[in-house]
Amino acid sequence: MKIDLSRFQAAFFEESAEHVTTMEEGLLQLERRPDDLDLINRIFRAAHSIKGNSGMFKLTAITEFTHLLENLLDQLRTGQRTLTKPVMDALLESTDGLKHLIEAAKTGEAHDEGRIAILRERLTGGAVHIEAPPVAAVHSPRASRRVKIEWTPGPTLFQRGLDPVQIVKELEHVGRVQTILRGLEALPALADLDPERCYLAWTFVLDTAESDQTIAEVFEFVREDSQIVMEADAASVCPSIACDSVTPAVPTGTSVPSRSTATGDVPPAMVPNPAGPVAKKSDGASIRVDTEKIDKLINLVGELVITQSMLSQLGNHFESPDLPVLQERLAQLERNTREIQERVMSIRMLPVAMVFNKFPRVVRDLAAKSGKDIQLILAGEETELDKTVIESIGDPLTHLIRNAADHALESPEERLALGKPAQGTVRLSAYQEGGNIYISVQDDGRGLNRDKIVAKARASGIIGPDEQLSDEQVWLLIFRAGFSTAEKVTEVSGRGVGMDVVRRNIEGLGGTIAIKTEAGQGTTFLLKLPLTLAIVEGMAVRVGSETYLVPLLSIIESLQPSAGAVKTIVGKGQVINVRGLYIPIVRLYEAFHLEADHTEPTQAILIIVETESERVALMVDELLGQQQVVIKNLEQNFHKVDGIAGATILGDGTVGFIVDVRGMLAISRGVAVAA
């Protein structure tokens, strides 16, 4: 019977990827704390694990390569080698090489041997030494013979959990045990006897056709502590067994070799089977689930929340003597539903570390390329975010960090001349506040250059020659498409992906981005992101007989303007003056072709919303209150409607539309064009 373990290969690849990440992260930390033994041990363990497991699947290239990595790590650990920069580079590049090997094994393609060979050389410092795998013992039939074995176990036999009976049983598998003699010479007087110690010795006479090697294997675990003498017994070869072997019989009469290298016969490899069934990784602490299943669950829970709130509303207007009881039960239902909702949503949550962890390497490479000394500080990596958000913030963050490292931070000489430490710092941190996650990218570089930005904006006609802007408005200019002040395009940034893309990505997630900067002190980008994309906190508003939801995240304030505040500006339509800032008014009843209660801004309510750093005043009849709703995609079920981001089912069972704030901004611009 052959037990097939290839089904565990998928789990191996996954686990190995985690180990490689551990190694990479560990190495980067090690660069700063080269004496941290725990850290080296952790890296070592990861390499060791990959080595051991890859061997199980006969992925020899991986096993041998990690073996070299492990050797180097061991030399670092024992102080035989020191962690110089070339060594660190070799180690880091080898983790890349290891990734490549694992990927190659996964896809079944051949790996790039040239690349690996170079890395091997760098790991060993030239002296490649690959331990040969133990050679399989060749078993050949032997003539039956009689062997006498004298075995005197060490006194600690029992304390190691060994049982002499097991040895006898095993010997019986090797041949026929003719006699067993007990040796009692070492037995002490009863008073001195320690029942946990072994004082006995045995002599076996064995008829066997097996080699000395095989007999020795029986004693493999006790050899070290015991005295074993094996010799040919007088009565020799048993003629009944054919002697067709061409291998000369091993001379008998020698004692068991002191060290056996064979680990038994090596049956054919567990053939890697990439097309085989994929094992779902489960280690008791976690299980892997298809995200589609979770999304379905989230959707269902959304429905449940709606049903529950419909019931609650019904319960408020119910005529029944049991009304108090009903309401109590409904309140209970609401609590439980909320909790289920939160728990289910949390399934999709992942620590932001998933994104953050790739940046130490990014920054290290950037520093190496630009000749700068850069320190990256990570904070709040354990903060959790929705998986979709996590997957979408990688690129914007990479861009911001590259910008910080490449443009914002000065060269060490420049920094010293300015009285700053030569080492520049980029700080990446995440934290939760209310229903939002904040991620900040902070550098202590030169800060945004107001004059340069204004000059560039004037030159490209984004602002008029005489237009005066506040600092804040100037900073926002860098988010305009095609706006880059980088004097020269360097290798790492300035490749056309601008800050406008960053902002669009963040806003596409329902988030916002803000800038704080001070000349010579540095710049901070603050990203505000929703915890999840499936649920939106909204303000329910009424326009005529319709209910709409305005995402709370984009609302700045709500007000009823006085007559003097509303002005009509030629070419810009109607605007409202809010503390000196003129904001275009969008009448929702006009945008959605409805009959509204009020057509005069002074009688209606204006909700000031902000997106893309621009503000729009939405005119509605009434504010109904704050509400958490589950977003239903309109495009998937109907088609895209301008100004509408999605639909939801409200507590009373009717459908409410979620206002697309960016769409409203576009409408306000359209109004401007039309007027």
Partner: protein, 123 residues
């Protein structure tokens, strides 16, 4: 009654493979992620007939675990096999001194593992 084997390894893949092999051979398997986890499970009442432990593990390594187990009265004579990639004798010696019954050298195949288990575990 089926015999219980406690597997201690920080690699989930390894635990899965060993678990799969042993369950198929009729053993009841308990898993632990490292030495400390194993001690926790043993003090909580798990009574294995055999312990199989990796050596390189976080929190508590295999050698320390073996020493801990040998200190537990009820497990004084329980067979303990260690999983090792070391083909050198150093680790084996260290393991034996700590009280390990035997070892399985990685990489091994399931049949080899079952063979070694048969060697130390009375049927």
């Amino acid at each position: 009654m089926s015999k219980t084997v406690l597997i201690v390894d920080d690699s989930a893949t390894m635990r899965q493979m060993v678990n799969f092999t042993l369950t198929g051979a009729g053993f009841t398997v308990v898993e632990a992620g490292d030495g400390a986890d194993a001690v926790k499970k043993l003090t909580a009442g798990t009574k294995p007939n055999l312990v199989i432990t990796d050596l390189n593990m976080p929190n508590m390594d295999g050698i320390s675990l073996i020493k801990e187990i040998r200190k537990m009265g009820t497990l004084k004579f329980t067979p303990i096999l260690m999983l090792t990639t070391e083909s050198t004798d150093d680790k084996k010696k260290e393991g034996q001194a700590a009280g390990a019954t035997g070892w399985i050298v990685k990489p091994f195949n399931p049949e080899q593992m079952l063979k070694v288990i048969a060697k130390v575990l009375p049927s």
